[in-house]
């Protein structure tokens, strides 16, 4: 990041530490979604999701490189050095998690007929990963994930959306859902049952009275 002449040292540090924060947040978020995607790739035997995991894994390498440089630039004294080395350790852990996710999707290279047992094992995990389709009867269509508050409403987090042939991974909250979208979700078994009913149009998405009205 280029610095303007005359900029005060503390302003520089603030800028640097802000970017450290953003980078760390992004690494943490990626490390969480990448593991879910890796399991989803195994469960649904999807090379496409597997390829996304590999892509995210590469992005993590870049992020780690950037955060290392930013952290070094932000170091002014011993205390900074000690605290920032702790921060870098967390960044390394996030990268290690994404490497593990990369190793998990490598299982896709094994002969397919020998692998279904993994699907059965993963189906019984405490947190479930499931696939469901948004029907044209569902009132979820044409509304955004944020507007619906999907996760706080049902406990299910949408980790990927397939629309036609295209996949959107870790979709933004502003993503509008459409009829025909295939969702890969993660959460509880009964949350999944609930969400499945909304997605199928068998139940109406709950509406709450506006605050103050």
């Amino acid at each position: 990041m280029p610095y303007k002449a005359g900029e005060h040292a503390h302003e520089r540090v603030d800028k640097v530490s802000k970017s450290v924060r953003e980078l760390l947040t992004q690494m943490k978020d990626t490390s969480e979604v990448i593991v879910d995607l890796a399991y989803a790739a195994l469960m649904f035997d999807s090379e496409e999701i597997g390829a996304e995991v590999k892509k995210l894994e590469e992005e993590m390498d870049t992020l780690k490189y950037e955060i290392r440089i930013k952290a070094m630039l932000a170091t002014r004294n011993k205390r900074d050095a000690v605290q920032l080395s702790g921060l870098l350790q967390i960044a390394s852990a996030a990268e290690a998690i994404s490497n593990a996710a990369g190793d998990i999707v490598k299982l896709l290279d094994l002969e397919i007929e020998k692998r279904p047992f993994l699907t059965f094992v993963l189906r019984d995990a405490e947190e479930k990963i499931r696939m469901l389709t948004v029907s044209d009867k569902s009132d979820m269509q044409n509304r955004s994930i944020q507007d619906l508050s999907v996760e706080s409403e049902t406990g299910m987090r949408i980790i990927a959306v397939k629309r036609g042939k295209r996949w959107v991974y870790d979709p933004d909250d502003t993503t509008n859902l459409k009829a025909g979208d295939i969702l890969i979700v993660r959460g509880t078994e009964d949350g999944c049952r609930t969400l499945r009913r909304y997605a199928a149009g068998e139940a109406k998405w709950p509406a709450y009275p506006q605050e103050g009205s």
Binding site: D103, L107, L110, L118, D124, G155
Partner: protein
């Protein structure tokens, strides 16, 4: 599912819980939770060794090499995740407080960690987690409960909640307010 599959599943669930606990220990600079992550890591190591032993022994009987290979590789990846959790928790056990940016960053994350104390008037009191379906209702997943000085890590659907419990939960930011209201008794549905 045979016992090998069950162990594999247990290691998977534990590795995920460890990551959540490690971030919680950081957010609250909580050494108890950090130390629990360390002890879970030892358990995971032992289980992974046992899983790999059994998988290899099984190959001698059924000759299903790809299956054994898949089990060995998956369990190794799970061990890497649990090691990463330990690396995160390790930062809490250092002599200096974690860098303030870490906590800010955890609060800005897509998945946040929060706590709430269960009050007498809360509908959660004397009910099990399975019964109240907190994760389904609010998106907040309870990862630990502090009761007096003791902790219950990775509570399950049969765990009963008591007044005074401090719940540690993980979930979406917009589920936090409801979670806190349910615990405080402000919301009773």
């Amino acid at each position: 599912m045979d016992s090998l599959d069950e162990m594999l599943l247990e290691v998977k669930d534990t590795s995920e819980l460890m990551i959540d606990l490690a971030y919680s220990s950081l957010l609250y600079s909580n050494r108890d939770i950090a130390e629990e992550v360390f002890s879970m890591e030892e358990t995971v190591d032992e289980m992974v060794t046992q899983i790999q032993n059994e998988a290899i022994n099984k190959v001698l009987e059924d000759r299903n090499v790809p299956k054994a290979l898949a089990i060995v590789r998956l369990s190794t990846a799970l061990e890497e995740i649990s090691d990463a959790a330990m690396m995160i928790a390790d930062v809490v056990l250092r002599e200096l407080q974690p860098h303030p940016v870490i906590q800010l960053s955890l609060r800005e994350s897509e998945v946040i960690i929060t706590t709430a104390q269960v009050q007498e008037e809360s509908i959660l009191v004397n009910r099990t987690l399975g019964d109240v379906k907190l994760a389904t209702q609010s998106g907040m997943w309870v990862i630990a409960i502090k009761r007096d000085r003791r902790y219950i890590y990775g509570p399950d659907e049969f765990t009963t909640i008591a007044a005074g419990d401090v719940l540690f939960a993980r979930g979406p930011k917009d589920g936090e307010a409801y979670f806190k209201d349910i615990a405080s008794g402000a919301v009773r549905v």
